[in-house]
Each structure stands twice: as structure tokens, then as C-alpha cells.
Symmetry: C2
Subunit: 240 residues, 2 copies
């Protein structure tokens, strides 16, 4: 059987606000229909200008209180502005629900891989739309995932996850597909986009030098539903 | 750059209790040092005889109460026996902490891919030991991951995760590695084994016909720590 292959895109220039990320990725590697391009969130955010200069941030009293002695209250202020609900808190560590519905540390606001130490990078406003925009610059039939890495309850360490996608069903419904004894699976849905984002994170590594990977040989269904629709509705979530 | 390649192992016979799984996998595909073999938990459990015949299970009053009208109380009884703590419950759906420390639906007890409908497959007693046992039958320098697929809080659908490993550091500590602006990452650790298990789950699919994959080109550090050590200690877990 043909292996699934994950190839890093090297040679992509450092991305700045306003860059046509899709065109730069398309120029970096050969793409065929049914390929999946996974792009790191930080690169997407930089192209979209989702970078905040902390020098211009006035922290609220709440941010100052949360930051305490160890954290920069301006950073906490930026995190709170991206947050619709603080789900858990330990000291200055905030697990936040973002406007998109994602639950993650610091509402996804990151100071790593910013161009300067006093900058913070925010998640894209609409990562599914970001993915659609990138896909428009790629050959027809190529799917796009925007990936980040989140911590998870109950397990240590972070893992790549999908925060946006286009041209691929993020969740693949396996209901009705028979198991190897011929019985239908009951209610098994797999987060295809997360599984692909996980290996993309592994190949990209954390340092940011590789902004994207091409995955060839993935099995997916073309779909425009996006990732946002696969966030667990709070009414169904047992851990909210 | 060389792509990372994930190749399914086909042609492995159906596994039964007592089979030498390592030898069967070694015979199925060429393996070189630094390859990672990811094996599906169900196959490992079958080889280890971790299969329960529900006909012989006497449900407790608690299991009968939880099962209600919709679930098989004998199945719930088996789940409870594998559980050290029920973390959340909705009707007959139990999110359980297993003896290994994993938090997952039904303590990982599964009726899919059992050989008969009245059988349930349990997680291995010690999946890290299972991985070490398999690795002993493989060429030197090959790492092994035992994978399952778990649901996650806050996100819909399941995703491949590592429940055991040998010869690979499950969690890779990135502390001190510089980001692309040359600053050290602060406290960033990545769950390498989970990221590899995720793509393995994608390539294996849910139906059980592909019991394992070979991953070539992964970046990992040889280590004998296993996965169990990477479960979040309950004292540090914000969601327990």
C-alpha cells in the first residue's frame, strides 16, 4: 500500500502582515488534488496581522490581579480580551474558552515565535475562513488545515490540533461502517483534522522554521463544515 | 527534505490469545533502526487474552442501576471493574479513570472489533510493558507505540492517542530549544507519542483490518519512560 507522506515546506520566507500566504505556500511545493496542506497558526496569524505590541496595552485591574508578581499584566490583558470564559485558573495560568469556542491555555495567545519579545500573537479571528482563503490560492482539490498545539486535560504536554480547515471534513462520521467482525460501529466519529494536525505539528516542530507541511495519501471527505462546528457544544460537554 | 512516511502493515493474520505479536509484525514489513511501529490496542489486547465473555459476567446492583434500560449491565460491570474512579457520568456513559491513570470513556472497554458481539475487549494490564514485549521481537533501534483512540473534553470525536510505548520518549521536553526568534521556549513539552499515534489511527482506520503501521522519519529520543509516566498527576490536573 502507498504510504501516507508528510513533507515539510522549507524555503518559505518569514511571513509578515499582508503577505499572500497561499501564494507563498503554492510556490514552495508541488501540490496535487487530495493533498492536504497544514499551516501553522502562528504563520497565519502573522500574515493576518494578528500581532499585538504589548507596549500599547493598558492592563485592567483584573489583569493586574491575575498576573501577580510573576506574569506580565499586559499579556494577561491581551489573553482576557480574547477570552469569553475563564474555564480554569491556577495563579496566572488561565484555561480559556475563546470566541471560536476552543478551550486552551491563554486563549491561544502566544509570545513564542513573535518577532520581538514584547509582542503577542493572537489566534486568527476566523481560522476556518483563513483556511478557505489559503485554499483559494492552491490548486483545485487541495485541502487546508490551520494547526496549533494545545494542552489537554488529563495528559501532560501539548499536541497538534486543527483550529481551522477548508475542503476537508474535520470530523469523519464512522457510524455504520462495519468493524472487522462485520458489525456496524456505534457512534464512532473520528477527528480527521486533529489527527492530521498532530503529525503536522511533529514534522514542523516547535521552532517555527517550517511553516507548513504537505500530507499526501490522507483519506478524507471534501466538505466545507470547518473546525468551529466540531467544538463540543457546552450543553453536551461533561467537563465545562 | 525526506518526508515522514506512514505505511500500513497489511497481511497480518487475525490475532488470537497467545500469538507472538512482535514476531508477526516483524514478518510483515521491513524495519530499520529509528522506525516506529504503532500497534492498535485491540490487537495487543487480543494477543494478551484481555477479552471478556459477557455471558460469564454477573452485574452488580450498581452496574444494573447505571445501565438502566438502554445498556447491557454486564458491559457496565466490566467497565466498573476496570475503573478506579468515575470522573463524569451521563446516563450509562461513564468517563473513567483507569488503573493506568488514563481518563477515557468506558475505561477503554470496547465491544467493537471483538470476535463475537457478547465479548468485550479490555485495555492491556500494562501497555508500556506490552510495547516493550513487542519491541523485543523487532530489530534493534525500532520503537513501539500501543495506540488507542479516546474522546477529549471540549472537542467532538475521537483521536488516536498513545497508551504505551517502548524505545521512545513519549514526551519531548522542548524547554530551552530556541524559537525562530532565538528565544528559548518556556515550558513547552510535546507529546510525541500522541502525535504519532494520531496519524497511525488515521492510517489504520477504525475497522481493525490494519493492526499496525510503520512510521519512518519521525524525530524522537530513545527512552524507556513509557506513557504511564506522562499521565497528568491528579494534583496538577485542573479538570479532575
Amino acid at each position: 500500500m502507498t504510504p501516507l507522506a508528510v513533507t515539510p515546506l522549507t524555503g518559505v520566507p518569514q511571513i509578515a502582515a499582508g503577505d499572500d500566504l497561499g501564494a507563498l505556500l503554492a510556490a514552495a511545493i508541488e501540490l496535487l488534488p487530495a493533498d492536504v496542506v497544514v499551516v501553522a497558526q502562528k504563520v497565519v496569524s502573522k500574515a493576518e496581522g494578528r500581532v499585538v505590541d504589548l507596549a500599547g496595552v493598558e492592563p485592567s485591574d483584573e489583569a493586574i490581579a491575575i498576573a501577580g508578581a510573576d506574569e506580565d499584566p499586559r499579556y494577561i490583558e491581551v489573553v482576557l480580551r480574547e477570552t469569553v470564559r475563564v474555564v480554569r485558573r491556577r495563579g496566572s495560568l488561565l484555561i480559556c474558552q475563546t470566541r471560536h469556542g476552543f478551550v486552551c491555555a491563554s486563549a491561544g495567545v502566544d509570545r513564542s515565535n513573535a518577532s520581538r519579545p514584547d509582542q503577542a500573537i493572537l489566534l486568527p479571528v476566523d481560522p476556518d475562513a483563513s483556511a478557505r482563503g489559503i485554499r483559494d490560492a492552491l490548486p483545485v482539490g487541495v485541502a487546508v488545515i490551520v494547526s496549533d498545539s494545545f494542552g489537554r486535560p488529563f495528559r501532560q504536554a501539548i499536541c497538534g490540533v486543527a483550529i481551522g480547515c477548508a475542503g476537508i471534513a474535520a470530523v469523519d462520521d464512522r457510524i455504520g461502517a462495519p468493524d472487522d467482525a462485520g458489525r456496524p460501529f456505534a457512534g464512532t466519529t473520528v477527528h480527521v483534522a486533529d489527527e492530521l494536525a498532530a503529525i503536522a505539528d511533529h514534522v514542523m516542530g516547535p521552532a517555527g522554521g517550517i511553516p507548513a507541511v504537505r500530507i499526501r495519501g490522507a483519506r478524507f471527505r471534501p466538505d466545507e463544515g470547518g473546525v468551529a462546528a466540531t467544538v463540543m457544544p457546552s450543553g453536551r460537554d461533561l467537563f465545562a
